[in-house]
């Protein structure tokens, strides 16, 4: 298909249209607004035959699509920051009820102070809600993952909600060339599937019943295991997608990690900038590498351990904080991974880019130099540090 110019937001909307979604409910919030605008336009002009439910809040938006999903509809919602926090309660319920809801998240900082720019504070506050969580690096990847998301969510071995994270403004508002796949191919790859358990007046059943202490633990265990087991389907869906589109992303992008002295681990759009600095530093003989993670839940610990075992030190870049913890959310996962797989590689955490603070080339160089220092001295002086903050 012909390459077109789309922003991260409109790339997602375009995919949602091709996926022939039945019900959309969303509340506009910067920087997600243009995605909702585009979707309501598609519905209004007849390009997409869907029900668009305007609601008064994000809590209602997710509740509406949850109910539509329980009735068997293919659904979509999207939000950001404060809106995502308002959905928090319903996110647990969506995963607990095993409903294949797909949501786009324009990652943005969380108040206070009020701030509309990018970091990962909003999604990291939802990490234990039981959803599958992807991170994208480009508009093309956002588009491709949206199509994969429906195939994964609606797979009978998964039946879980999926969220697609793409950095606010950096991806949502940047126009890039995107090559979509044909409409028919989209629905052939991700066909709508009728689930066995759906709300139907002719065959009544209860969704969201009371799980007293005799039942709750088993129901929760079932949802936890479903998320753990989804990894296989996620990998398979990406491989199948690569066959039809020529584009696959895997669980991570590892760049020059094989012979490295240090690896910088990151999530989201910063991955491309990091790879550029790797190229520049490699020219000057510094053995640095980049590991850009694509999937945060389920956390692919075993697969990452393999990459991380080949280096001498690790720097984790967190674009979110976990105040009072020994490091940021990504750092805690990486450190637990190293320990669990008996890897004795020193690791440090850097928190940067909060509230849209720019992470420039010099900041990335500084992070790599910290890692190189740890690798040569074989010891960690400072476990957690902040880059780009004026002290």
């Amino acid at each position: 298909m012909k390459t077109i110019l789309l922003s991260g937001n409109t790339a997602l909307s375009y995919a949602v249209k091709q996926l022939d979604v039945d019900v959309i409910s969303a509340y506009p919030i910067t920087p997600q607004t243009t995605m909702v605008e585009k979707l309501s336009e598609y519905v209004a002009n007849g390009e997409l035959n869907a029900e668009f439910i305007p609601v008064e809040s994000e809590h209602s938006a997710l509740s509406s699509v949850l109910a539509a999903s329980a009735a068997g509809a293919r659904v979509f919602t999207s939000t950001s920051s404060q809106g995502l926090l308002l959905m928090h309660e319903i996110m647990f319920i969506t995963a607990g009820l095993r409903l294949p809801v797909v949501m786009g998240i324009a990652d943005r900082a969380v108040s206070a102070p009020i701030n509309i720019w990018n970091d990962h504070s909003d999604i990291m506050a939802q990490r234990d809600t039981g959803w599958i969580s992807f991170f994208a690096e480009s508009a093309q990847e956002s588009y491709d993952r949206t199509i994969q998301a429906y195939r994964i969510a609606e797979d009978e071995n998964v039946h879980l909600p999926v969220n697609l994270n793409f950095d606010g403004f950096i991806l949502t508002h940047t126009y890039e060339p995107v090559t979509p796949i044909e409409d028919e191919l989209v629905l052939k790859y991700a066909p709508k599937k009728r689930r066995k358990l759906v709300l139907d007046p002719n065959n009544p059943m209860t969704f969201g019943g009371l799980g007293s202490p005799e039942y709750y633990f088993e129901a929760k265990y079932q949802a936890i295991k479903a998320l753990e087991n989804s990894l296989k389907t996620i990998i398979g869906a990406d491989k199948e997608y690569a066959k039809i589109s020529g584009r696959g992303y895997g669980l991570y992008n590892a760049y020059m990690t094989e012979d490295s002295d240090t690896i910088l681990v990151s999530l989201g759009s910063i991955g491309g900038s990091i790879r550029e600095i790797v190229r520049r530093m490699r020219r000057n003989g510094s053995k640095v590498g980049s590991l850009s993670l694509k999937l945060f839940r389920p956390f692919p610990a075993k697969e990452l351990a393999e990459v991380l075992s080949k280096t001498k030190s690790i720097v984790v870049l967190d674009k979110a904080s976990s105040p009072g913890a020994i490091g940021g959310p990504l750092f805690l996962e990486i450190q637990a991974t190293l320990k669990s797989f008996d890897l004795n590689v020193p690791v440090i955490d850097i928190i940067a880019g909060l509230g849209g603070r720019e992470i420039g080339p010099d900041d990335i160089r500084l992070m790599f130099n910290r890692g190189l220092k740890v690798a040569s001295e074989k010891k960690v002086d400072r476990l957690l540090d902040y880059v780009g903050v004026y002290l």
Binding site: R98, M205, L210, G211, E214, Q222
Partner: protein, 91 residues
């Protein structure tokens, strides 16, 4: 009875309607409402206030269904002639 994970429907969906009847909530009770029929005037206030509802008209008498009564005590508090006493359940 607890169910095994493998016996449970996906997402804890209940496929049998009226399944709430299977949960006998009477076991939650710490105090039991006992009606003194020498005082009862059959006004039906206990029947209308019971949130379960676990009070029924049986053979012309308002009767507590102890399989479902949670022992909240609303009936005793609302009874205009103080015909209902809350009695501690024996262990």
């Amino acid at each position: 009875m607890p169910k095994k994970v493998s016996e449970m429907e996906e997402g804890f969906v209940m496929t049998t309607p009226r399944s709430s009847m299977q949960t006998k909530t009477g076991s939650w009770r710490a105090f039991k409402p006992v009606i003194d029929y020498s005082k009862c005037i059959s006004c039906a206030i206990c029947w209308s206030y019971c949130p379960e509802p676990a009070i029924f008209l049986k053979d012309g008498k308002y009767t507590v269904d102890y399989e479902y009564c949670k022992g909240c005590g609303i009936c005793a508090a609302e009874c205009p002639v103080k015909a209902i006493t809350m009695v501690r359940e024996s262990d």
